[in-house]
Amino acid sequence: MNPAPSVIIFTVLSGMGFGYLALLATVHDYTGLAAFWHWFVGYALASIGLAASAFHLGNPSRAWRAFTQWRSSWLSREAWAAGLALLALAPVALSDWLQLGLPRVFGWPGAVLAVATLAATGMIYAQIRAVPRWHHWTVPALFLAFGAAGGCLLAGLRLPSLLALLVLGGMMALHWRVGDGAFARAGSTLGTATGLGGLGQLSVFEPAHTAGSYLLHEMIFVVGRRHVPRLRALALILGVALPFLCLLLLPGRYGPYAAVPLHMMGAFAQRWLFFAQAEHVVGLYYGKR
């Protein structure tokens, strides 16, 4: 699949943002100006991400319509969860900033919605059976793990961060492991795609078109797959190992300060791979994957 920058930026930033917002609403109780800045960072990450995703649309002006199909569509559910989370958290954020003393329990509904947003983002990909690498529960689990790790790091919670990073590393490895055999397990081949499999050895004789097309550009993106092992190593080292070491070795606040940018770079590497490596079954028609 085409690793479109808008979607990569969206999923990485808003993933961190919603993870952070959930923690701000429940665990933390900053007050005054400190609260303002912390909430500002959370809201900014979440909404920059949402804005970036709009660039992916062919007709952004109609984006409101994405709220209408929550009964069947995960993308619609994500839009609802994200919108409601940002709304539900606003009173808590205001109360923290202006020291109105709203009890922490008021943060819980918003936190649950923020977590639901992360899960819904994962389900948008996991529901797509035509991309076998994505069609698995490890995908929403991975998005949740990223939200937890990014959120804890931003919140500067040392022990939870260490745990979340360990879980994240494990989920990444599991997702890769499961994903590598997924296409073969799905059972789609040029034979099933054309129904000609029983007749003999099948190969592409002529492509349907010599020029480019939306399909080739969007679904049959084969360019970036050469660097898979290197990018996986980068994602693990930058996203998990180095932030872990920073937290262990650097004193006080410096740990999280150093860990956050490293973790973010790792997340971008992982997300790029998440798209670039995902093979759509339509590639079979073109003799590609």
Binding site: A66, S72, T194, G200, E218, V281
Partner: protein
Amino acid sequence: MTCLPGKTERALGLVIDLDTCVGCQACVTACKGWNDQGYGVPLSDQNPYGSTPSGTFLNRVHSYQVQPEAAAPMIVNFPRSCLHCTDAPCVTVCPTGASYKRVEDGIVLVNEEACIGCGLCAWACPYGAREMDAAAGVMKKCTLCVDRIYNENLPEEDREPACVRTCPTGARHFGDLADPGSAVSQLVAARGGYDLMPEQGTRPVNKYLPPRKKDRPDQASLLAPLLDIQATGLAGWLDRVLGKI
């Protein structure tokens, strides 16, 4: 809207005969021609006369080579367009309700007024049947020529999809696949029509007819009796005499 109708009254679709398709691409052209001026925005082309042309098509024809174990290889031409699936994954993923399956005839359509161009439906389709129009930013797909098949302004014989109407070998058939008595259903039954990628769980309405069995090269040639040439007349006499020496 994007919940699928449990059951449709009819299941209109195509039956494509891989035995007779010669890969002439006439249906590709007819489809593009009709749908450029019919339902929804035109099918745009990008840089059509330049070095990297591309464009939106609702129907594409591939060519595959089949090498059987003990027979001559063959070429199979393979038209690919929307299969109007019963369990269409492209419909349920749509966040806006733009994609829908009609209850009355099972046709899967995009309401372009509501489409935000998110592209998710094209990801969900295993068959590559949906292409985003780069000029309009909305999703295009085969409409089963919904603006022809019910169009009373057209002469009766033209009230079928453009690709079916144009095919010079009659490799594309159109009809109601929910009705076991229809011509297309009988054709499917007689020729062993099948689904593409059944493992994807989409339950396509469109069916494909396999290429018919070809002659085996090891079967005796029709020309065999003619190959045993017996000389007659002077040549025959010479043949016999020379044989005796």
